[in-house]
Amino acid sequence: MSDACGMWVYAAVPPHSPVPELTGVAGEPLSVVRASSLGAVVGWVPFTVAEGDRDRVEGIARAHHRVVTELHRHTAVVPFRLGTVVADEAGVGAMLEAYASQLLDGIRLATGRTEWGVKVFLRDVPAQAAGQPAASGGSGKAYLMRRRAERQASEVHRHRVAQHADRVHEALSRYAAVSRRYPAHGPQIAVLNAAYLVPADDSSRFVAAVAEVENANPALRTELTGPWPPYCVAVRLDDRAGAGRR
């Protein structure tokens, strides 16, 4: 055989979760490896699955996400990071055994809960709204002073908005078993990029709470995404110093 293969791990699930009738990142059928009261949803993939261009990686990412999302519809699921590949079925079983307690903790957290993504942006505020009335005309010096005042007002404004974001995060975290802030990215200034693991029963209350953020502070714009599988239930498993060590 010229192609080396390995087991792509999609997620940990309770042991008797149904196997999704989907294909995986290499178009392969999926199966569940069971050990230590856990299941791992896996697919046997050639390493060449990872070769390709941007469209290819988008396909891989979407296929991985599709499997995790389908699992989330039917069972508690703890997603694995993209690109986790283990040598064979015995290796997957050994991994489940070595990290059973952490993975079972993850399953418990994931059970009956769903992830919501919240991004909070600072709306573009016209200069005069940032504190200074728009004076017109005047000398060059007056103009420069006005610009400086606008900049200072704008700094104060941003600082206040950051504080608002902290408060928003605190308020939304009250609904969540897990809440995490992530680096903001993108062309706009995001003051908050966070994920919240919320009981499925509380979803409508949580969505209403996010909507209330904009009502309470018109300077903020929120983006709600979800429901997502519980990607925020992230665990780092490291076996280099022996099983059981975090």
């Binding site: 997603p79 990071r81 991994m95």
Partner: protein, 60 residues
């Protein structure tokens, strides 16, 4: 009813930067997994370039 497609940036944000991370000997980390990771890293670099604010440690 069909939901709109989930934006790639939001998917990558999750599948590349969150989820369970396994390090060490259980995963194919010495030779074989590196092939996968190196390939994937090359693949995602163009996408990551668009995620301008993502810090280095989140980029694999």
């Amino acid at each position: 009813m069909s939901a709109p497609p989930v934006p790639l940036v939001d998917i990558l944000d999750r599948v590349l930067a969150r989820g369970v991370v396994v390090e060490g000997d259980i995963v194919l980390s010495i030779a074989d997994i590196d092939l996968v990771r190196i390939s994937l890293r090359a693949l995602v670099s163009s996408v990551h370039a668009q995620l301008s604010g993502m810090p280095e440690e989140e980029r694999w």
